[in-house]
């Protein structure tokens, strides 16, 4: 696509510059290094010209004009406060007005020290106020959500937060209420600002009106040491900033990555970090003669671990989990295949299939960057398969919503019902349950025919038999490009490193054979709640178990040797996001003795008389053929096919210790179509229970028009309804609590 950009010549403070037509005056000034004051202006939000801080003189116009809202025209002559008395006076007047009702509480305000209003008042404001009236006050603060607090008297009505909620997140749960001097941001009485993206409003607030319960009164900006970081919570690949004071993370912010997260992130990435310090393992542990886990020195623990692993050797199963960095993934791959000589290695701690293994090997592993965020933004059509971006890759959601709102991109989704996220993307539902997904994909050819169309498959496609094959076939037949979007930050790096059971046992088989063909287990970041099947039983069955972990878990409790590894803030590394894009990060909190998984594996290898290599596994691996999976389900009376995924905020272990965040999570509900509700004797609004193999959960029923019949949906591992079954299961559904 060729884009021809018309340029115009404009003069700012006497400097002529050629810029693309339509550029706003304030952006042109930025290019020239001229800072025009601003509060309401934000480059990613539509202009409102409300605060009037950026008034400049435009030659030929009698009144000063808002630089944030006026696109330059050819020959325009602009004078900022540096060269125009009109502009300078106008800006000074606005600054004075902004301050008359603003409290002088900078010393106790979270924003103090990094506050645009404070900075501009110091730079351009009067030294003494002329206002001797009574300042506007409000009871303070109010909760707009459990996490986000609002001190209304600090607000300057810039409407950044409300525009963000409407234009970016699509969660218009905050709005400007009242009018005139009483105008204030607020919520309605019955709906708090529970948005997955609410924290961004705190970050873009140009004053201290919005603060987080998490960070409020915790620190001063100038006491923080900031490190650029990569978010570890999902495969979106956000750039974030970690702010540390005295070796503790105080807060995390979205950082600037125009090609990925722009300037946003989700609340999980922003607030879910207490796990980094709580419940940490501090020393290696070794099981003693009495069967108790006791603290051990690193040399002893490594010796015991090496001895046990030497014994199990090629009969060792290696489970790495999906949170590994690219470097750690390579180390696991080399350690398993080359040091131990086993092919029983898998990163997947979730439902999987042979079809998926083949799909990942043939369509994902080792591929260069193909589909990008930028491509999503210009695609005529995007087909989502078993993937709800708002829950499962929130930055993908934001980008797709942006594209959809600009009427560029049509979003289609093969899913059981119209989710809130799909509605916010103005998407079209292709209703299908897990067992019908493959057919629905095959029938969606018309939607992805236009050049540039994209198919995005989620990791849940592994639970829809034939779906991955169907998606690959559809891409091949239509020319649409295909990308796989997993949930965890380490998943894509793990696939590329070869942490897949090529010629070996997958996670399910490893656990099933534990104590039989599989003698030993080496387990990375996996916990019992992650895995379909009985991990606890497998550990108990295995002869020897080594656990590499950051915190005490149900695995470390049962392992023979526990080797503590560092969390993301203590190590450097790289996360590879779903695009295949790498984001490297450095140590944010230097910690003596902290070792990454890779460093521990290297020591173990050395103990075993070997060493790790950097072999490219996929260069020589035999890739299995992609064959559609099959199913044989019979759904009886009182039963339905389960569809489930994890809400972004749930009982995940990395979200522990953050009650304000947890309080904004979506509550668990059971969804069925009205017809299915009738056939299962369920009543809208009353409780029902979903059950299979002893695993069950109870939640209120929501009859969902347009939902596919014969399917029941409930979130996985949600607070109050901790169901842990994969999609595609046939479950019993009954009215009432369990």
């Amino acid at each position: 696509m060729t884009v021809t950009t018309q340029t115009v010549t404009v003069t700012v403070d006497g400097v002529a510059v050629e810029v693309p037509a339509g550029t706003l005056i304030i952006r042109v000034a930025e290019m020239l290094g001229t800072a025009i004051p601003r509060f309401c202006d934000h480059p990613l939000l539509s202009p409102v010209a409300a605060c009037r801080a950026c008034l400049v003189e435009i030659e030929g116009q009698g009144k000063p004009q808002p630089a944030c809202a006026i696109p330059v025209a050819d020959g325009m002559v602009v004078k900022t406060q540096h060269t125009s008395e009109m502009a300078e006076k106008a800006q000074a007047g606005v600054m004075e007005f902004l301050l008359i009702n603003h409290p002088l509480d900078c010393p106790v305000c979270d924003k103090g020290g990094e506050c645009p209003l404070q900075n501009q008042a110091m730079a351009n404001g009067r030294s003494e106020t002329r206002f001797n009236g009574t300042k506007r006050t409000f009871p303070k603060p109010i909760n707009v959500s459990a996490q986000v607090l609002l001190d209304r008297e600090r607000c300057v009505s810039c409407a950044r937060c409300t525009r963000f909620a409407e234009q970016i997140a699509g969660d218009q749960f905050i709005a400007l209420l009242e009018r005139g001097a009483k105008q204030q941001v607020g919520t309605s009485e019955d709906q708090p600002f529970d948005s997955y993206f609410s924290g961004n409003t705190i970050q873009i607030c140009p004053v201290g009106a919005l603060t987080s319960a998490k960070y409020r009164f915790r620190s001063r900006p100038f006491d923080l040491v900031s490190s650029p970081s990569a978010c570890e919570h999902c495969a979106s690949g956000c750039a974030i900033r970690t702010d540390v004071r005295r070796s503790s993370v105080m807060r995390r912010l979205a950082w600037d990555a125009p090609e990925v997260n722009e300037e946003w992130n989700c609340d999980k990435g922003r607030f879910a970090f207490p796990y980094l310090s709580e419940g940490r393992l501090t020393t290696p542990l070794v099981r003693d003669e009495d069967g108790n886990l006791v603290a051990a020195s690193w040399p002893e623990a490594l010796r015991v671990a090496a001895a046990g692993l030497k014994k199990s050797g090629a009969a060792t199963g290696v489970l790495t989990g999906g949170r590994v960095t690219v470097e750690d993934a390579k180390a696991y791959a080399s350690f398993a295949r080359e040091v131990l000589g086993t092919n029983d290695v898998d990163f997947r701690a979730r439902a999987l299939s042979n079809e998926e293994t083949a799909f990942l090997a043939t369509h994902v592993a080792g591929k260069p960057i193909d589909v990008t965020y930028g491509d999503l933004e210009v695609a005529p059509s995007v087909l989502l398969v078993d993937f709800d971006p708002e829950d499962e890759s929130p930055i993908v959601f934001l980008r797709l919503r942006k594209a959809a709102l600009q009427n560029r991109t049509k979003v289609f989704s093969v899913a059981p019902y119209m989710t809130a996220g799909l509605a916010k993307m103005k998407g079209t539902l292709i209703a299908a349950g897990p067992l019908e997904a493959a057919a629905a994909i095959a029938g969606a050819a018309d939607h992805v025919k236009a050049a540039g169309s994209i198919i995005l498959v989620g990791e849940r496609a592994a639970t829809s038999p034939g779906a991955l094959k169907a998606a690959a076939d559809l891409a091949a037949s239509t020319g649409a490009r295909l990308a796989w979007i997993p949930r965890r930050a380490g998943d894509r790096g793990a696939v590329d490193a070869g942490l897949l059971p090529i010629n070996g046992r997958d996670t399910g088989a490893i656990l099933a054979e534990a104590g039989k063909a599989v003698k030993g287990l080496l387990i990375g970041g996996v916990s019992a709640s992650d895995v379909d099947g009985n991990l606890v039983a497998a550990i108990d069955n295995a002869e020897f178990v080594v656990s590499l972990e950051t915190r005490h878990t149900d695995v470390t409790e049962r392992a023979d040797v526990v080797l503590p590894v560092s969390v993301v803030t203590e190590k450097s590394g790289t996360f590879r996001n779903w695009e295949g894009r790498d984001r490297s990060f450095n140590v944010a909190i230097p910690t003596a003795g902290a070792l990454s998984d890779a460093a521990v594996l290297e020591e173990l290898a050395r103990e075993l008389g070997s060493e790790l290599s950097d072999t490219n596994f996929w260069a020589s691996a035999a890739k299995p053929e992609l064959v559609a999976g099959s199913y044989n389900a019979s759904v009886g009376a009182g039963q339905a096919v389960l569809s489930t995924w994890k809400h972004l905020l749930d009982k995940g272990s990395l979200q522990e210790g953050e009650p304000y965040l947890a309080a904004t999570a979506r509550v668990a509900v059971i969804r069925v179509s009205p017809a299915t509700a009738r056939s299962l004797n369920l009543t809208d609004g009353s409780q029902a229970t979903v059950e299979c193999c002893g695993n069950k959960a109870t939640a209120p029923v929501i009859e969902t028009p347009g939902m596919v019949d014969g399917v029941v949906w409930i979130p996985t591992n949600s607070e109050g309804a901790a169901l842990n079954l994969p999609s595609g299961c046939v479950v019993n559904v009954s009215g009432g609590a369990a």
């Binding site: 400007l176 009242e178 309605s188």
Partner: protein
């Protein structure tokens, strides 16, 4: 409160007047007030549901306009114009007289729920100053005495006629009118009053008129 199916039908009737549904929000909030006497959280939720908006979005609108009340007003909501054009010509005196007589202030309701008072701004009736309104019907050229008389009559349930309109009805009844539902009263209140006709009368007295069209 919950809204009946008839009210929902009225809401849909309002929505059908407009090319885009959201335009129905202001009349729908009048409809809500015709049911509730104010706009409650339920009323906001009702509009949000019918128009597929968030409740915050509806609350933002409901709190912007002064005619929407977030707590119940009296059966007769009395406005006294205190904008200088009326206030100086007697509105301020009428206001303080009424407050004293009723024992209530701005945005307050008498204990019996009959009367509420509001200091209102210009009603586009400056030629009829000082002006009051009862459920927004004009009570023109008022005095403290005539103001008290009108309010006491309304309180007792006696008939009071608008000086340029029909018999004063309840707040809820008039809100239904403003939601766009005909009450059959358009012909009440006469064609024009003395002030509206002052110029025409004067022209006729002086024998003045607009020039004829040259054929």
């Amino acid at each position: 409160m919950s809204f009946s199916e008839q009210t929902r039908e009225k809401a849909r009737d309002i929505i059908s007047r407009y090319p885009q549904s959201r335009s129905a929000l202001l009349p729908m909030l009048h409809l809500v007030q015709s049911e509730e006497g104010y706009v409650s959280a339920d009323g906001i939720a009702f509009c949000a549901e019918e128009l597929a908006l968030t409740t915050a979005d509806v609350a933002a609108v409901a709190t912007f306009y002064t005619m929407y009340h977030r707590k119940p007003v009296g059966e007769y909501h009395i406005g006294v114009c205190i904008n200088p054009g009326c206030g100086i010509l007697g509105g301020d005196t009428i206001w303080s007289t009424l407050c004293e007589r009723l024992g209530i202030g701005n945005d307050e309701v008498t204990e019996d729920g009959k009367i509420s008072l509001e200091r209102i701004e210009c009603q586009a009736a400056c030629t009829h100053a000082p002006v009051m309104t009862a459920n927004w019907e004009f009570l023109d050229n008022m005095t403290p005495e005539s103001a008290i008389d009108a309010v006491e009559k309304l309180r007792r349930g006696e008939e009071v006629k608008s000086t340029r309109g029909p018999r004063i009805r309840t707040f809820k009844e008039n809100e239904l009118t403003l939601a766009g539902f005909d009450d059959g009263l358009a012909g009440e209140g006469g064609n024009a009053d003395e002030s509206m006709l002052a110029g025409l009368k004067r022209a006729k007295e002086l024998g003045q008129s607009a020039p004829e069209v040259k054929k």
